[in-house]
């Protein structure tokens, strides 16, 4: 079951992929390359997974420091790890 389907949070979670945004980013970064239609969605999937891992790691850091709120340092430490992981 897709996680998105179980979303029932207070705020509305948009499940639509910002395909135009992603394409614009890719074009800005690599103008000489083209992005296919389906790969656009997979890029979005990749972003989702990245953000998911980042959030998990940040939460672990925050809980590790006995803090009920995610702070900047938690996110920073988590980003270091996850970006390294996502390097590919």
């Amino acid at each position: 079951m897709a996680l998105s389907t179980t979303v029932s949070q207070r705020k509305m979670i948009r499940r639509k992929a910002p395909r135009g945004f992603l394409k614009r980013i890719f074009k800005r970064q690599k103008p000489h390359l083209r992005l296919e239609t389906s790969s656009d969605l997979l890029v979005h999937l990749n972003c989702l997974l990245f953000v998911h891992r980042l959030a998990e790691e940040s939460r672990i850091n925050a809980c590790g420091s006995k803090c009920g709120v995610i702070k900047k340092e938690h996110v920073l430490a988590a980003a270091k790890v996850i970006l390294k992981k996502s390097r590919g």
């Binding site: 509305m12 083209r34 969605l41 990749n46 939460r59 709120v69 970006l83």
Partner: protein, 575 residues
Amino acid sequence: MAYNFSPDSEPTTRTLLRQVLDTAVPRTPRRARSTRSGAQRDLLETPSSRRQRSQTKMTARRRSHTATSVDRLARVQASGHLEEQTPRTLLKNIILTAPESSIVMPEAVVKLVPSPQVVQPSRRKSSRGSLELQLPELEPPTTLAPGLLAPGRRKQRLRLSEFQQGMDWGHLSQEPRENADASSLTSSLNLTFAMPLQPQSVKRPGLARRPPTRRVVDVGTFLQDLRDTSLTVAPPGESHRTPVATVPMDTVLEDTQPFSQPLAGHSPSVHHSLPCPSPSGAKEVEGAASRRTRSSGHGLQNSYSGPGKPAQLLARKMEEVEAIAMGLPNTSSVSGEDGIEPLQNGVGEEAEESMEESMSVREVEKAAEEQGSARAEEPEGHTEVAAAAGSLGAIEAKEPEGSSEDEDTSASPELPPSTPEFLRTRRLQFPEPAPPPSTAVLPSELPKHLSARIPPRPRIPGSRPRQDPYKAGLNHYAKLFSFYAKMPMEKKAEEMVEKCLDKYFQHLCNDLEVFAAHAGRKTVRPEDLELLLRRQGLVTDQVSLHVLVERHLPLEYRQLLIPCAFSGNSVFPSQ
């Protein structure tokens, strides 16, 4: 005797007790029967036994102050003893000790007594016997002469039984089944009566439940008033008039309602109203006759035969009214009082009358429309009716509105079961907000606009176009981050997340470029993405890409990504 009590809003029991007390001064308990029976009958009629109790209590206390000869002492003693007991015992003592004027002969009293007794023969007989035993135990201080004790007991029994009947009369409505199971119940009742009377009061919640019967009636009348007021509220001008108007005037003013807006001012509408009822009177009679003869629903259908939309409006409104009327009986039935049934019938009649009035309103509307005064303004009239009737009318009157109206219709059927007040208020509100948001803004669209507007970071005017949509997209993922985290976050943390995302995108593009170049392509294809995911460790031998797609992407995207076989030996997306 001086009336020590201040007149209350409910004169029934109080006045009765007053009479009892007043007449009770210099009399023997024997004659107390007559007034007591009358008092009990009145007690029977009163819906709330609590008031009885309270009043009896107050009367008991006040009786202690009344100046009388012998009975005073008795009452004082009784009251002194009464205070220790429950109101029921108080009242009983009062009834026992308070002599009254024998308006009716004892024989008549005897006749009167059996009449209510017949209603509950099974119960009463058993209860009487038990009560007999109770009385001497519970009321030792009674100063009845010993010679009178024997007949007094019988009379006590009668009086108490009458009183019990009075109590049970209201309670009977709640528990009609008890009569059916006479044997078991009587035995149980015997047991209960064997106990002190206090548990009876506890066991007989009917005494406490009587107020609801009143509410039913009130609601019924209140419905009518609401309808009248709602019908009058729709037109802006006459809202203040209609509530003041009397009942016959209400019907006239209701008729004027649909004309008020189509017509310029109140006076022409009033003038129209006057002649209108006369021609519509026949229609009212016909409608009423049709309605009366058949069930309300059928009657409505008959009434619908004539006009189109207004009839439908009427139909639905009357359905709603019926629903309300039925809802009231349902609510009342919940309490389970048979005494409510006649009230329900009254409510139903009232509802029918209100429906008739509404029907007359519609008919008058048609008459007026036929007259041609409201031809050009039929939609307005319809809108008026809609505002008065509800969202249903609004839907019909404003068909071009579309989905928003449909939402109202879907919501309106759910409303009738609710209190009529909400009906009026909501229905009145629905037509108003319905037209403005005709586009039916979806809630999902709102956050998009909001998020698009949220990031106002124009650090450099030239690069602003890059910032805003860029920030908008990043905000999308930042929100996802906060959602996944399930914990409160600081603003700085969110900014940090955005920076990380920025870096991540850069890495992503670089990797994709490398992969595409490795494959000798200049276009990034899904295979490159899959390779990226695999290298990131998200896709493993156990977890395939399709699994991730199914997990995290909505259905529409999944259909685009995962090839699925369709009929005709076709696969989409084609490989």
